[in-house]
């Protein structure tokens, strides 16, 4: 396989990480917490979508909408029950609470749904482009034939739609502008008459909707089980911090960077060491925090 094909894989991975990373980074910027339970939101979204698509049988696009709505509701309920009451205690207690909530949710899902993996039933068309000439540099083939499936195109398409929608929301609507104001300075936003609790709730709903969508897309690519989302949380987190915590645009950039690095390291690491690809993603994260702790576009996270 050529470099081109691997970059395509990276872009696809980057797409669903990006959708989730936007939700993650919005929570970070506005509620001021690292939500370690966010991976479980993805898992819940994947399960809601799966059961909507199989038990009722709803068509897949409708099931995705159900998963997004379900994700939003779950996110708001969990936030109201667990995070809003301790909002003023600072980032570390919130992080620890989300870790505890994540453990409880993950095991509750496992208890209800069992350990086995479930698969979305999707019809896939594969588009092949074999006629592209090889462009070899050393042992690496820069171009070469490649393929994409309709599933993968849908993943990338949904991601682009989400980016446009989020950009519109944050720049064109009152609630989006209020979110950005709160991300900048919460007290100042309150002085200007913004209902900060309402905005916080809407951020939770928005993050839940994004998690639901990302969870279904992830599950279509892989499968649905109790750790579907948890297995991605560190990548999501790396993408969000890489881009500068709190910045949705940075998160998109960070997600594609992480996705491409993961794909390339899986392809070019010697076989038997391909498990190291996630280590490389975290290595990049640590490097970024050392060299430019504010991320690609963001705020200072060091104290001393």
């Amino acid at each position: 396989m050529g470099l081109l094909q691997n970059i395509i894989f990276g872009v696809i991975t980057g797409s669903y990480i990006a959708i989730a990373a936007i939700g993650f980074t919005l929570i970070y910027g506005i509620v001021n917490m690292i939500n370690f339970a966010y991976g479980e939101y993805l898992t819940l979204g994947a399960f809601i979508g799966f059961f909507a698509a199989t038990t009722f049988p709803l068509p897949l696009p409708v099931a995705v909408l159900v998963a997004m709505a379900g994700g939003g509701v779950v996110s708001l309920v969990l936030a109201r029950a667990f995070f809003t009451p301790i909002n003023q205690t600072g980032p570390v207690p919130l992080l620890l609470t989300s870790i505890g909530l994540g453990i409880a949710l993950r095991n509750a899902i496992r208890l209800v749904a069992g350990r086995e993996a479930r698969y979305y039933d999707t019809a896939t068309t594969t588009f092949r482009f074999d006629s592209i000439p090889d462009l070899s540099v050393g042992s690496v083939d820069l171009l070469g034939g490649f393929f994409v499936t309709s599933e993968q195109l849908i993943v990338v398409g949904s991601a682009v739609t989400v980016f446009v929608a989020i950009h519109g929301l944050l720049t064109r609507t009152d609630v989006g502008i209020a979110m950005r104001a709160m991300g900048d300075d919460e007290s100042l936003a309150r002085v200007r008459g913004i209902d900060t609790q309402l905005i916080r709730d809407s951020v939770w709903v928005l993050a839940g909707i994004l998690a639901g969508l990302s969870g279904v897309l992830l599950a279509i690519q892989t499968n649905v089980n109790a750790t579907t989302g948890f297995s991605q949380i560190l990548q999501i987190l790396s993408a969000a911090i890489l881009g500068g915590a709190g910045s949705p645009y940075g998160a998109i950039l960070g997600a594609y960077l992480i996705g491409i690095v993961l794909a390339l390291s899986t392809a070019f690491l010697p076989s038997g060491m391909s498990g190291l690809s996630s280590a490389i993603a975290f290595g990049i994260l640590i490097l970024v925090l050392l060299v430019k702790p504010s991320g690609i576009a963001g705020t200072e996270v060091r104290e001393a």
Partner: protein, 347 residues
Amino acid sequence: MSVLDRVPTENGDLALLAGVCCVLIGGLFAVTPLRAQLPSALYVFVEVGILFVIYGLLVLGLDLQYGHTGLVNFGHVAFFAVGAYGTAMLSAQDTFAGIGLGYPWPLALGVGVVAAALVGLGVSATSIRLRGDFLAIVTLAAAEILHSIFVNFEGIFGGNVGILGVPRPIAALVSDADTRLVATLLVIGGITLVALAGITRITSAPYGRVLRAIRADELVTRSVGKSTVTYKTQAFVYGAALAGLAGGLFALYNGAVAPGFFTIQVTVTVWIGMLLGGAANHRAVLAGLAIIMGLRLISRFALDVTPVSSDVFASIRLIVVGLILVAVIRYRPAGIWGDAQELGVDR
């Protein structure tokens, strides 16, 4: 003047005395033909007890880092693993996979501790300046990186099998299983008590006051001329070295190390134990850890009387553990025995 009058009353000294006594009694089992008999019902208690005293070293180190200095280290298992792998690789003979050099175990244990301290120094040199929640993420990521290195470099670390054939000093001296368990519990428990004494000594000295001042307000501490980064680095390295010691002892007790022993679950258990007991109070964190590890015992016994599978029970136990963490932070942020005013969490 009777012997009783000479028993120290200070907590730290009492722990030191008790610890030395435990090690001596344990040693007595090992070198004399003295034998212990365990009722079979107690086996599981002693086994969990051994794990508890090993994790006790972890929680003491973590309490020095988080409870006293306020460093949010969420990758504590990394230093535990480095200590264990360092000790195992240096001392293992005829390991199935990976490197086993077959050096004597005391040397290996020392190297394991030093290796863990060095890794701690590396992590803190790069990230100790980060804000609390980001330090948590970096340490967590560091632990995940180490874990995947242990799994993926099969030629060096033995992959998923890990390192086998690590010498077991106590097992080598005592052939009978009952005595072996009791002696192991006493020796490692004694070491934990001695560590408790050492840590108490550090934290009740002026040095410990500086650490707590950093936790309360770093800027103020810097303004009175203390190099907070140096103090934070030292506390981090001490904690890492203690975790390395715990890892080395674990390797020498278990006779093998594998990545499966060093998952994020260890970090979570130790953290919840510390928060439940009450950070910054050494005996409280040990008690909190005992409660959390006691849940394992309950689930093991409940397994015999209820008709559910062990899988289901493990899930239920973890749900309870997660909710305990949530509840402690919300309703009792200082922990059961912690001092809310001192920790600054009074609301």
